[in-house]
Structure formats: C-alpha cells, structure tokens
Amino acid sequence: MQKQEMRQGINDSIPIILGYLPLGFAFGVLANEAGMSIIQATMMSALCFTGAGQYIALGIMQAGGAVFTIILANVLVNLRYLLFSTSLVPYFKGQVPTAAGSLLSYGLTDETYAVSMNRYQSHPPTVSYIAGLYLSSHTGWITSTLLGATLGAYITNPDRLGLNFTLPAMFICLLVFMTRRKSDVFVALSSAFLCLLIGYLAPSTMGNLFNIIIATIIAASLGMLINEQH
C-alpha cells in the first residue's frame, strides 16, 4: 500500500461524499417510508451501491411491484457499468493486478468513475488510490443512508444548503477538465444532445438510464469518424 496514493484517493472522494450526503440521506428516509428497516436500508447501500437502482427499487416497491421487476429494472440501470468498466481496462493494464482491480470495481459508480478517469489523464492508477477513493466514497454512501434512516424525521430540508447541486457541479467541472481534444468536445456535445433527445422520445429511458448508454455508444462512434478525417 502506498500511503500517499491512498490519501490522494480519500481526498478526491470528499466532493463525492458531500454529494452523496443528501442523496444517501434521502434514500434512508424514503426506504423507511417504503417499509424497509434501518438495517435493510443500510445493507442495501452496502451491498448494492447503486443510487439510481436503489431509488428505482423504492419506486417499484411503493407501486406494489414484484421483486423480479425490481431486479430486472436494475439489470437495465446497471448495464452502463459494462461500458465504464471496459473503458478502465486499458488504464489498469500493467498498473493494477486483475484480482485487486476486479474486487475494487465493486465501488465503481458514475461519480467514482468520473473522478478517477480525470486522475488517470495525468497519473497512472494504483490499487491504493482506487481503494482510497472507492472505499471512502462507499463508506460515505452507507453512512448517509444510515443517518437518513435513523434521523430522517428530525432533519428539515437539506436542499437549503445547496448540497443538492454538489454532484451536478462535480460532473460539470470534470467534464470541463476531461474535454481536451477538439473531438472530445464534439463527442460531449453530441452525447448530451442525444441523451436528452432519446429521453424525450422514449421517456422510459429516463428512468432506466438507457439513454446514457445509447448516447455514449453513438457519440463515441461519431468521435471516431471525426478523428479519422483529420
């Protein structure tokens, strides 16, 4: 373990945890309302670590849906991680042992992906960095769920603090840092446009996040064409 790398990972997780706080908290509160115990809500955050998927589970539970429906919806929502994880493989090669990389990938989320990819543009990945970033983010998610499930009734609106904008703000900043090549800007704009267009034309994709997958695949392919011509 390299202390410096791990510390850097933990440092980089601070904005993520700040953003998870209101989201995990709200999940804890809502899970309670949907009939989950404090232990179940907290364990779900520990075992699943999939914000969108967990919220969808609550929605289906409250609509009286079946366990099978929840799992199927989660298959769709989590498919995007296939893309994320695959795009990390070239970075891990020769830097991160496969066993450690696979195990730690448990902690791969939209946010940890965004932050770590930004880091890998200038520093090679290390097991210590990934462990620091992922485990600390995951701990934040679990803790905020526990807080929400136990203290939910006592806390009034956390939106007053503006924390609901933490994750959007983080995505904006990381997007700015990561679009270096002209082709990146083109890919990013196409992807944003396609994602909204698909969500507009097929509203169900807004819920299962399939619009992200389709937009990413098309936009990345467009990037290849653009690049080819130069």
């Binding site: 009939g35 179940q40 779900m44 075992l47 699943c48 670590f49 999939t50 998927g53 589970a57 929840i70 989660n74 298959v75 989590n78 498919l79 893309l83 994320f84 994880s85 695959t86 795009s87 891990f92 090669k93 496969t98 696979s102 990938s105 791969l108 939209d110 939106d159 007053r160 603090l161 503006g162 609901n164 904008f165 994750l167 959007p168 703000a169 983080m170 995505f171 904006i172 990381l174 997007l175 700015v176 840092f177 990561m178 679009t179 082709s183 990146d184 890919v187 990013a188 992807s191 396609l194 909204l196 969500g199 807004m206 992200i212 937009a215 990413t216 936009a219 990345a220 392919s221 290849m224």
Partner: protein
C-alpha cells in the same frame, strides 16, 4: 413487501449491480485491445460525463425541464465559468453550491 422478499430483493439487486462493474475488468484485462477500440473507449468518459451533466442539470427531477424556473440551469452557468477559469474542482463546486443555496433560499 414482507421482510424476506425485501432481503431477496436486496441480494438480487446486489448481484446485478456488481457483475457489470466487475466482469469487464476481471475477464478482459488479459487481452490487448486493438488500437481503434482503445480510441473508441477513450471517448466513453467524455460522452458519459456529458450525458450525466445534461441529465443532472436539464432533468434534475427525472423529467426534462428546460425553462427559466429550473434553478439547476442558473447554477450551471457560474459553475461552468469558474471551472473553465480556475481549472479547480474546489472552486467550481463552491460556485455551484453557493449559487444553488442562494437561489433556493432567496429566489425559487
């Protein structure tokens, strides 16, 4: 939903959310990707980030809301300007969070 069903649901969701994250790293690491695939994959991060940004700002409640009443769009502007200007995540976040807090408490 009873307690047993909830536990089954949690374990099921856990499996389907963990597998797609772990399997590519576990199974594909021993292969050397061809150059065009590597190039294609290098566009995945900007594309994903951009989609996430678009959704989180233009559809904060899960439905697309492109109007002056969407406070996320207003908070987007200073966040973008500050992050381009300073190239700092810290100041970018600060700009966004403060703007959102001000909008929430005094305007919307």
């Amino acid at each position: 939903m009873n307690s047993t069903s909830i536990w089954i649901m949690i374990i099921g969701v856990s499996i389907v959310s963990i597998l797609p994250r772990i399997l590519p790293v576990a199974l594909l690491s021993r292969y050397e990707f061809p150059a065009p695939l590597k190039k294609w994959l290098s566009f995945v991060a900007p594309a994903v980030l951009s989609s996430l940004t678009a959704l989180s700002v233009l559809a904060p409640g899960g439905n697309i809301d492109i109007s002056i009443n969407n406070s996320y769009i207003w908070a987007f502007i200073p966040t973008l300007l500050i992050s381009v200007k300073t190239r700092s995540l810290f100041y970018g976040l600060l700009a966004g969070i403060i703007t959102m807090a001000v909008l929430y408490n005094f305007i919307f």
